[in-house]
């Protein structure tokens, strides 16, 4: 039996990690062939949605690498990477995909050996969790729905706005000078991630066909009351509305 060869995509920042990968090459340090590299100027360019999109499309693993904290070519870009990656981890946890499928690492331009080790370790890590359940043509339908919902949530206004303001809120405070403690922020983030994830799950389901609250609650394993709450939120956003009422039960559909 041939061993499973994971398909891995790596985002490398131009200045440190990509240079570290080049150094591994110049030093002829051998490592597995599984990772395909996308060069970005700064790891801070990588959006949670970009990673989720690759997982949705069937990547077995995605690695993001940047300069070490404090050595960022763009001064503070990797601090944003860190916060965005934390959001990505939260969203991934909702999907049912294994957390080992993503990894964030810092690698300097001088660390060729370390880069090779990282690729090797990550390849082994992904190999150990096995092929992605999302691979066409027979993806796990529930996990695929979850991943799509996580992707939509990551690309949506609310989570992007929150993670964008995080650095400033916890370090400098808002316009009134009120500083938010990191754990308070984390709590608000958890709540937002859960809501956005559920709202988008329901939205995607309703894009497929009209459904009742009860029907969705059953499929999603949620309380009907909770689903109703999310449907109300979706109606407020103007994303869904009542399509028809069948025997007194309203059926909702995406707008």
């Amino acid at each position: 039996m041939s061993t499973f060869e994971p398909n891995i995509v790596g985002f490398l920042c131009n200045w440190c990690s990509y240079a570290g990968a080049d150094l591994a090459g110049v030093s002829r340090i051998q490592y597995p062939t599984n990772m395909r590299v996308i060069k970005v100027m700064c790891s801070g360019r990588v959006e949670p949605g970009m990673v989720l999109e690759l997982l949705e499309a069937g990547a077995d693993g995605v690695m993001v690498t940047g300069c070490h904290i404090g050595d960022c070519h763009y001064i503070s870009g990797n601090l944003h990477t860190k916060r965005k990656f934390a959001l990505l981890q939260r969203l991934l946890a909702k999907t049912g995909l294994e957390p080992q499928r993503i990894r964030l690492e810092w690698n300097s331009a001088a660390e060729g050996q370390r880069f090779a080790n990282l690729v090797k370790e990550f390849t082994e890590q992904v190999r150990a969790v096995g092929p992605t359940p999302l691979k066409a043509p027979t993806p796990d339908a529930a996990k695929l729905l979850n991943t799509r919902a996580a992707l939509a949530a990551a690309d949506g206004f609310r989570l992007r706005a929150l993670v964008g303001k995080e650095e400033k809120l916890v370090t400098e405070g808002n316009v009134y000078g009120d500083k938010v403690a990191q754990d308070e922020f984390t709590e608000a983030m958890d709540e937002a991630v859960e809501t956005e994830f559920q709202v988008h799950r329901i939205h995607i389901m309703l894009q497929e066909r009209p459904r009742s609250v009860k029907d969705m609650a059953k499929q999603l394993g949620l309380q009907p009351k909770a689903v109703l709450g999310y449907v109300v939120a979706l109606r407020q956003r103007g994303w869904v509305d009542v399509k028809e009422a069948v025997e007194g039960t309203p059926l909702y559909a995406a707008q």
């Binding site: 970009m50 870009g77 964008g164």
Partner: protein, 555 residues
């Protein structure tokens, strides 16, 4: 119009071709969507290879070019220039790194390496199909330089810039020019008096018609970018604004005063090497037996670096006091008297009877204050026993440490510090006195501990680097930058908060806009904007997505 992409696959002699089946990859490349032409070259970067790219562009009417070869970090500018010569905008060029990140790291797996090379080319082609031409903004350069710091490095740099015909303003926080050198007695390796070097230099600087000196002044604010910096300087008389084209950071360093270490600050007989300099300067060294301890506060967990100058300074001062008939012991961990001059000084010191005693980092000397002297006990690994010396004076060779406002300055200038807190260059070997931020340069001990000769060499280097854009009068900046779609922006200001360079501002409508010449193209704002209103040129969402999805396709 469908793109017409040309793919040039380099054999790099045997560097690529020995591990990747290049002809097979060429055949594969021809099948990719958008590819109008593909060929292999022995060395794509040779003039022959470059000519072939230009010919193919003409002959096959190519509008985008992909080169699969080595790393874009070294070769992209060359290939881009070739494209431009043949009339293809440089931003319509893309590279696939099939050497440094493929053939060289998969030498034992030629089949898999060939597959990966195909994948990398497919990804590059997918991105190339979506590339768009860009113009690089061109801006005027104000012919004036700001030098921060009036020590020997700052003064030498200022003189050299001014002699090339540009205006210079030196901002110095102390009341007088001279920096650390003011506290020195004599200079190694030739034992020349510090004042003989310093005074003529200060005289030249203060009388130069193109140099202005602001003493007791501090940088308050820095806005702008290469060619057009707006500087706020707080002088005794209020805040003065300056407009300059380039900036030189020559703020120097400070000497560590290690309170609590080896009784420093507790017993007046314990001084630092630089305090000994001052005592030598005033001629009041009242001690017959002197012990010096190297690496006092350096090469430790807290400060892992070697401060480079202290071994030489210790040997020099030891020689000076020996001439006055004193007895000197130098306790060292590794004596780093590097180079031609300093190793000669070390030999001289040994000849003149200065005693060198090695100690171990994990068994540092212990000091006990006694009425008749300071008892120094140290375990010597060379003789495998503890040696005791009672001295009248203990001199600590302490490292140079970053200036106390280094962090504040680095944030104002948007330039990085290294893990030790010194100002960090763009590249150790290729751009050793530039910052990654265009138009800002660093020299002297602000960058790392170094001696005067090395500082002056850097000062002359930055003077020439800083003068180049001023002599050219105009500069181009990379087109990799953000662009705000005004129809989608809500004016929330998040992008402004996260931009490390203040490269975004609100326009009169309260909506965000990029200041093209300031943006460094990191993409943090684009990844952050809640409305997804920001497009990153050359790294658009669509381009990155296409590259990623192409990575997952089967060949």
């Amino acid at each position: 119009m469908a793109p017409r992409i040309g793919v040039f696959i380099c054999r790099c002699g045997i560097n690529i071709a020995a591990y990747v089946d290049v002809p097979k990859v060429v055949e594969y490349a021809k099948t990719l969507p958008g590819v109008a032409y593909a060929e292999e070259n022995m060395y794509t970067c040779s003039s022959d290879g470059l000519n072939k790219i230009k010919e193919a562009i003409k002959k096959h009417n190519l509008d985008r070019v992909v080169v699969a070869s080595c790393t874009p970090r070294t070769h992209e500018p060359l290939f881009q220039a070739t494209c431009e010569e043949a009339g293809v905008n440089k931003y319509l060029f893309e590279m696939a790194n099939i050497r440094d990140q493929c053939s060289w790291v998969h030498m034992r797996e030629p089949e898999k390496a060939t597959k990966k090379a195909k994948d990398l080319i497919r990804m590059a082609v997918a991105k190339a199909a979506l590339l768009e031409p860009d113009d690089e903004p061109e801006i005027d350069v104000i012919p004036s330089t700001l030098v921060i710091g009036g020590g020997v490095s700052g003064m030498r740099a200022a003189l050299s810039v001014a002699d090339q015909g540009f205006d210079v303003t030196i901002v110095e926080k102390e009341p007088a020019l001279g920096g650390k050198l003011r506290g020195f007695d004599s200079l190694f390796p030739h034992k020349q008096k510090a004042s003989e070097v310093l005074e003529p230099l200060i005289e030249k600087v203060t009388t130069h018609p193109r140099i202005r000196v602001l003493t007791e002044s501090r940088l308050k604010s820095v806005y702008g970018f290469i060619g057009n910096f707006d500087i706020g300087v707080e002088t005794g008389k209020g805040v003065e604004t300056l407009k300059v084209g380039t900036i030189i950071v020559a703020v120097g360093a400070e000497v560590l005063k290690p309170r609590g270490l080896y009784l420093y600050g507790e017993d007046p007989r314990v001084v630092t090497q630089s305090e000994l300099e001052q005592l030598l300067h005033t001629g009041s060294v009242n001690a017959e037996k002197i012990v010096m301890i190297q690496c006092s506060g350096s090469r430790s967990a807290e400060r892992p670096y070697c401060s480079r100058i202290c071994c030489n300074e210790a040997v020099k001062n030891a020689l000076n006091v020996t001439e006055k008939g004193k007895e000197v012991y130098i306790l060292y961990r590794d004596l780093q008297t590097y180079g031609i001059h300093y190793s000669r000084l070390e030999q001289e010191a040994k000849r003149k009877g200065i005693r060198f005693l090695k100690y171990q980092a994990d068994k540092p000397p212990t000091i006990t204050a006694e009425p008749n002297g300071l008892k120094v006990s140290v375990y010597s690994p060379t003789v495998n026993e503890t040696v005791e010396v009672t001295a009248n004076m203990l001199v600590l060779s302490t490292p140079l440490v970053p200036v106390s406002d280094a962090k504040e300055l680095s944030q104002m200038l948007k330039v990085p510090l290294d893990s030790n807190g010194f100002f960090m260059e763009a590249h150790v070997k290729l751009r050793p006195i530039d910052f990654a931020t265009d138009g800002i340069f660093v020299c002297g001990t602000a960058h790392s501990p170094k001696d005067i000769g090395e500082s002056v060499a850097q000062a002359l280097g930055v003077a020439s680097r800083a003068s180049i854009p001023m002599a050219k009068k105009r500069v181009r900046t990379a087109a990799i930058m953000s662009q705000v779609d005004q129809t989608r922006c809500s004016g929330c200001g998040t992008c402004i908060d996260v931009c490390p360079y203040n490269a975004l501002r609100k326009n009169e409508k309260g909506l965000a806009e990029t200041i093209a010449a300031v943006c460094k193209g990191c993409g943090v704002c684009g990844a952050t904007c809640p409305e997804k209103a920001i497009t990153m040129h050359h790294f658009t969402d669509e381009q990155i997505q296409a590259q990623g999805l192409a990575a997952l396709e089967e060949d």
